[in-house]
Symmetry: C2
């Protein structure tokens, strides 16, 4: 019998991932803060539960994919959280947090879980809305080898690869690397597109050239076309990326490293946020970089 | 009969490109500032000529792949340059500059060439040393449609695609877009690798995860592994990239746009240059970003 899965969080990513589990005949229980967001999945065969604690009582593995570290903390350690009940009352023996969150929080959860005899993995993902939908996510995992082996079949349904990066928190650290790389890559892409337009080129044609050379990237292939169509829908929310950058910068401060590209990205993404763009996709960075936009109306 | 080709410049890129032409049985004449650099190609069947002007006398098409805009200017407009002789004495009817150079200089050359009844293309490339060797370059072309059509068979030997981006200078502008995108992408990659090391992760393993997700890029696949091996050989010279960034920033100033990522890249690459790294590969940016390197010796 495959393990039963309790799932927390039905955002852009979580919903697609649950769909993929249901398609593979997994028995999935659901909890999410806003019940209405779960409706489509409940119609597709998932069952509703009243709290993370209830999910843990009735499922072998509980997986969370929520928004912010404070949500993660409440889902695991809160009053009706996964780890709130005495362990005897629970079927759950393994928890997996796939939210992008703080490495230190991942360690804290692993410690509490371990005291209750529950294995814990931090397993954030990369690959965006497309990757969640097509199950082509890259999954970065922190935790112990046994738990990783147990979770592999589920990771196989959700993504194209899962790599154990180290102990608790290592998945989150790897994800920070991912976000740090993306932050400046996005700056380069948006600056390039702005230059293309201002120099009078056909940006679509330029994209045809630069995507195929040394400037090529996932962002350029997947997000630049959206920018050229004026499509700033998420994808991946600006407000979540700002959260990720904040976590990374806090970690950098602790390590004593100064990442100027990342700091520039924070400043530019903050501008998008201040202008009310928190629920736009990360490609909305173009708006902050096109700093003459308002003036000449282009 | 395929056109005969006069070639100027035997650097990392040029040498590989001439090899590919010779392999396809093109008749190739060579001129380069340092004759010794041409020796291997002369041994492979290319013929030596004493000046760009002499190449133009004896070949249908002359192609330049040199270092700096001042080299381009001298090769075309200098005393023994391609366009220095009265046109009656020349076989050459088409010139192609594949150097990354100033858009305005491309326009000036096109104008002088046109007065002499010679077609002119600016056709810089992307894809690095690997792309030149494997003939997988992406070629960005500015000039007129007829000349582009005539050059297509040669472009087909040198790269995997050539796109006409517009009139004279448009190839150079498209290449600036390419370099602007790369500049910040390199920052993100180096910052990500630094974070990976400082947070105690196995950087090689992290690369396995992040290359396959939304952080993926040509740089990450081709240059990050070199950084992890401590291999800072060129590839593409830091001093040439600094030149390209300088051209792009000058164009930005004229257009009235402020690209902060590009300016940060210039400052960081200048540090590499100041530390004597001009003839290293562009991945040596890692040294400037790893600003604690000297202090703790890692």
């Amino acid at each position: 019998m495959p393990p039963t899965v309790g799932w927390i969080g039905c955002g852009v990513m979580g919903s697609s991932m649950v769909k993929n589990l249901l398609a593979e005949k997994y028995e999935v229980g659901l909890y999410t803060r806003t019940e209405s967001k779960a409706q489509a999945l409940l119609d597709s065969g998932a069952r509703w539960f009243e709290s993370p604690a209830q999910l843990a009582v009735h499922h072998d593995i509980v997986i969370s994919m929520v928004g912010y570290p404070e949500d993660v903390e409440s889902v695991y350690l809160g009053e009706t959280g996964i780890l709130s009940k005495p362990s005897g009352d629970r079927r759950c023996t393994c928890v997996i947090d796939m939210t992008t969150s703080q490495p230190t929080l991942a360690c804290k959860i692993a410690e509490v879980a371990s005291r209750q005899g529950i294995a814990s993995l931090d397993a954030p993902v990369s690959g965006g809305d497309v990757g969640a939908r097509d199950a082509t996510l890259s999954i970065m995992v922190g935790g112990d080898t046994d738990a990783f082996a147990r979770a592999q079949p589920i990771f196989g349904v959700l993504g194209k690869q899962a790599i154990l990066q180290g102990g608790p928190g290592a998945g989150q650290h790897a994800k920070m690397v991912n976000q740090i790389i993306i932050a400046s890559t996005m700056i380069g892409m948006c600056e390039g597109l702005l230059y293309a337009r201002r120099s009078g080129l056909d940006a679509q044609k330029v994209l045809g050239s630069v995507s195929e050379g040394a400037a090529g990237s996932w962002s350029l292939s997947n997000l630049a076309p959206r920018i050229l169509q004026g499509d700033f829908q998420p994808g991946f929310f600006v407000e979540h990326f700002v959260k990720d950058i904040g976590i990374a910068l806090a970690e950098c401060e602790q390590m004593g490293i100064d990442l100027e590209g990342l700091k520039l990205a924070r400043r530019l993404y903050d501008e998008v946020l201040q202008a009310g763009g928190g629920r736009l996709g990360t490609q909305a960075l173009y708006r902050a970089i096109d700093n003459e936009r308002e003036r000449d109306g282009s």
